[in-house]
Symmetry: D2
Subunit: 357 residues, 4 copies
């Protein structure tokens, strides 16, 4: 593109790291889709041709009942979904590590008004037994009523539910009158790991509604609430607007999702990111003194290192502690991570570990 702009490139487009998959930019195919969707006028607020077509694309992946509601970001998607599937007096059962619990600044409570009933888990995954720790008190007005079970696929710890595990959770929740929300900020990574279609562990497993993460899968921005069971929700369009998540030029969110989902970009990108994480985990596992913490089932690697090694490493590469007291760190791969990036980082880990002790 040769169009002039008063903006200036201010960063090195060859520099990549392992701090977060949202440090990456947008996939070039996504920018191409935006350029295609640009020009001329399209009805705003979702009445455009791209958003109409997105419904077909989503039904192709999730089945004929699916309805997509594009929004801006993950917190917005979750807040919208939780409101749509609960009453004003509702509560949500989730893992203590859930993004809605630890990383959304209290938005579920403040904006959606729901109480979170959190359960400690060994690996970020709920089970029927874990759900039952909080699934009680029906009809008791003193207890915020559990109305939603919220799981993340993949989880915040990079682990991945099998379709059967999700089906069990859905059956269990439905038997108790609860709905199942799936936070799919990294939904594509799960499909890549499982090697099954998206609907195998969502619609077909009984999930009522999900948030499909686009940003971490290579979009500029944009997520989509996808309602799989229309009977499980009320008022989604109204709630989207009233929760500040209605995009005026929605064609640009929808066109990005079309670029992602009409073909296999979503899967290519996720598979690549997963492969890079596996390569990273294997590389680092071979370094003496580094412990890999959870099964590597997506694009995340959690490791435990000596604090002084972490701190020296952080001077060379930005990344975050996951649990500073324990010495746990998180490394994320993305669609644009290269084998050379991984190998260089593994070498750095090995080098810094070598200086230790």
């Amino acid at each position: 593109m040769t169009a002039t702009t008063d903006a200036v490139r201010r960063h090195d487009p060859e520099l990549r790291g392992f701090a977060s998959d949202n440090y990456a930019g947008a996939h070039p195919e996504i920018l191409a889709a935006i350029a295609l969707a640009n020009g001329g006028h399209q009805v705003s607020y979702g009445e455009d041709d791209y958003t109409a077509h997105l419904q077909e694309v989503m039904r192709g992946h999730f089945g004929p009942t699916a309805q997509a509601f594009p929004v801006f970001n993950g917190t917005g998607a979750n807040i919208l979904a939780l409101q749509a599937a609960s009453e004003r007096w509702g509560a949500v059962i989730c893992a203590a590590t859930a993004h809605i619990n630890v990383d959304e600044g209290g938005a579920p409570e403040r904006v959606a008004g729901v109480k979170l009933l959190t359960v400690p888990t060994p690996d970020g995954k709920l089970t029927p037994e874990l759900i039952d720790r909080e699934a009680w008190g029906w009809e008791d007005e003193h207890r915020a009523q559990p109305q939603i079970v919220s799981i993340a696929q993949t989880t915040e710890l990079g682990t991945c539910y099998t379709p059967e595990e999700i089906r069990e959770i859905c059956d269990h929740a439905h038997e108790r009158g609860m709905k199942v929300h799936l936070d799919g900020a990294r939904l594509a990574n799960a499909a890549a790991t499982l090697g099954v279609p998206l609907r195998a562990f969502t619609t077909d497993a009984g999930v009522d509604l999900l948030c499909f993460g686009g940003t971490k899968n290579g979009l500029l921005f944009g997520e989509s609430v996808v309602v799989l069971n229309p009977d499980a929700v009320r008022g989604v369009p109204h709630l989207r607007k009233a929760s500040t998540q209605l995009a005026s030029k929605m064609r640009f969110v929808s066109a990005q999702f079309e670029a992602l989902l009409a073909g296999d970009l979503w899967l290519r990108s996720a598979s690549h990111a997963n492969a890079m994480a596996t390569r990273l985990a294997e590389g680092v596992r071979a370094v003496d003194g580094v412990e890999i913490l959870y099964p590597v089932q997506s694009n995340a690697v959690f490791a435990r290192l000596p604090h002084e090694v972490t701190e020296r490493l952080q001077k060379r590469h930005r990344f975050y502690y996951w649990d500073e007291a324990a010495g746990d760190v998180r490394w994320m791969c993305s669609f644009d991570t290269t084998e050379a990036d991984v190998d260089g980082f593994v070498a750095a880990v090995a080098e810094e570990m070598g200086k230790h002790k």
Copy 2:
């Protein structure tokens, strides 16, 4: 751009209308800026180089105290600003026609928790006298406390405050302990109309904080809360996250704003849109039986037509009733409206009016 994408162009990029300035797409210079900012990794959630630089750009326009907080959309910007400048028991005085009152799905009440104290106005503009209709009841716990005066520049009726009018409002509000919020969804259009720098009718007039509209000024998406008086707000970063308005790949919002504001794109686009509205108003005013309703001081034209004419015209061009009972309609111009678009529309109006009676 020759990158392939699985997305398909689904609309006619040469088709434009007068329904809304957010029917337009993004200015090509904006897409160029996004492409420049793409590639490589940048720290997410606003710690990137583009957002850092945006602070300088904003200070250049609004003075050394200005702080920019990019967000997704206008409702989000307003909700954030209103929370930041009020207490939990606060109320906001605004025109009955204000966007926050009529077009945000109740988000100010639901998400920000503020009560709106609305005042009817002849032209969308508040005055000290109109403010005083609701500026009372201090210390009375039965009355939600007026803590913010919210004005829009330009207003929802396309009218424009002079810098002096805004200064009077700010002085009046400040004397009563209230802060002034300016909804600048069309801030650039106001500057273009007034022919003065942005700060002349904002910072220099005493406005405490504003929402700078990017979307209607040619961005893909993106607005920015700009705090002019840091003493007037608390907790903006926390409130932005907790109100679902924190973008992870914020570099792409900030780079768009840089493209808009580092040079004169903002002013070129707004001046053009304004000029097209003036051309449209002049053209239509010459048609017998059409009444132009307010001073045309931005990119909006409000007109009163016979209902049957409007309905025939709507079959040819999409646009909205503003007040269906009265027969009032609204026509908006945007950065990409052409003289030919205007002349064609004027001809259509004339033709349909000619069939009437």
Copy 3:
């Protein structure tokens, strides 16, 4: 009662005024009911014998579908009712003078999350025509959805709807898919004015749910949400608790309501208060220069006086301006107002008016 207490009488029990009907204390029959209900243990939170019996009492007045939910105060009752009958994206059409709009500190917006769509009225009373000013925008996600019409009987201006007027409003609202909430802070006064049973202008007129005011009818404290149409609400018990309005020792609210409603205490007290207001209005109307402002149809008298007269009178008797700019004042009578109280006040008004000019 001869029980000792460390508390001391700190006021003159013979001093009464016209400032507000909640300046009065509790009717002696109410205190007697509390004493009867005291002693021993009763299940808390409404599972007691008094609350069970209250259901029968309420059904006697409002018909077989009525369900009573005792709460603490009027704001709490209204907030509970508005939530129970609306969705999260709902709005409430009410008179601009409605208590929920002007006297509840923004609680409807903050706690219930509803937007109020207010309509100016000449006399505090809505009509189908006035409702239609805000009853529009169905399905438009940009507009908070009108789901409830809220009327007050009697109104904040002391006026009283006829049963036919309420029926028209209910029919009109129901045809548009809205429910009707009636704020009955002074419901008993309305029945006394109209000379009809309570159900004639509530259940039989189509009202869906109401707030029955006890405090201004001689209770110590206590109001009751009464659901007349169970299909119009959801989750009342849960919402009552989650809105801080669930009394633990509920037997004492219910026993007060039994004392009020099992016999005719409610009607005796209201009729007396109304009669005193009529006597006051007649007395004052005879004083040259005083204007009575609205039809006196309950226990309230609104009058317009010269400011200096009001201020001198306020030094002798506490009462409030209703509209200070206009010189409008409000005088309220209560169950314990005596004829001598009224006559003395009328004499004071006459005396102070006599000094004027």
Copy 4:
């Protein structure tokens, strides 16, 4: 009292149990205070002589900075206090067993908008170490900001902090910029257990604000927020109204508190209830097979029994499971529990245990 009433006594005033201290009615001295405060007119909404005097009474107990804000109930008191001492983006650290977490229907989240950061404890008591599990993430916008540490005295498990323990918590919280809220639903029971003045473990220990429970201490209804550190709060009067907790006839709440606190009624009642709990624990501890679960430091006894025994016992006496899976039950004593009540209940426990195995 010989006043007639249409209400009828519907319960056996000699029947008492151990299910909850709010199954009890009001202390006769409290009813006497209400009768004294009745009659005549008093300014409503707290501008009465009883509420004015209550300030002096509270200052006598809590020191010269104390300010009392009477409200209706415990949930209302907590919600008010949490809002007054936090920002819109705040979170509250509390024990997982805290009443605000498990028994208030989600009101803290829904109405106050705060997130609760809960910590498991062995005995309901927080410590600096336990607080530190959640006291982190300052300045991180992704984390709701810990601004309040909330403790209960006595705790929901009937345990009691020493003044030193509370001082340590307050020092720890204050060093980290957090305020300390004390839920004193059973504050009097703590003072009775500790044998120290109320201020020894509140004001003097550094507590910023507390909720003084009246209902469980023998009031008809009524609690009071007591602000000890005025710098720790903002907007209490406004928040009280906007949270539906402003009583119109406030004199009757204040007079009850005067009766409770001007002399020693509060301490007599609490000491008696505590003594009955001790008697109950001792009696039951002697029964083979019953385990007493926590130190008995107030009016609560927690015990573990075989389920079948509990169920038979519940047919004779109403009481609640605390943790049904574990077989834990809770028995509460109140101001009106008699030694004979206790002895009879102990005998019943012994009898039912005797039938077991």
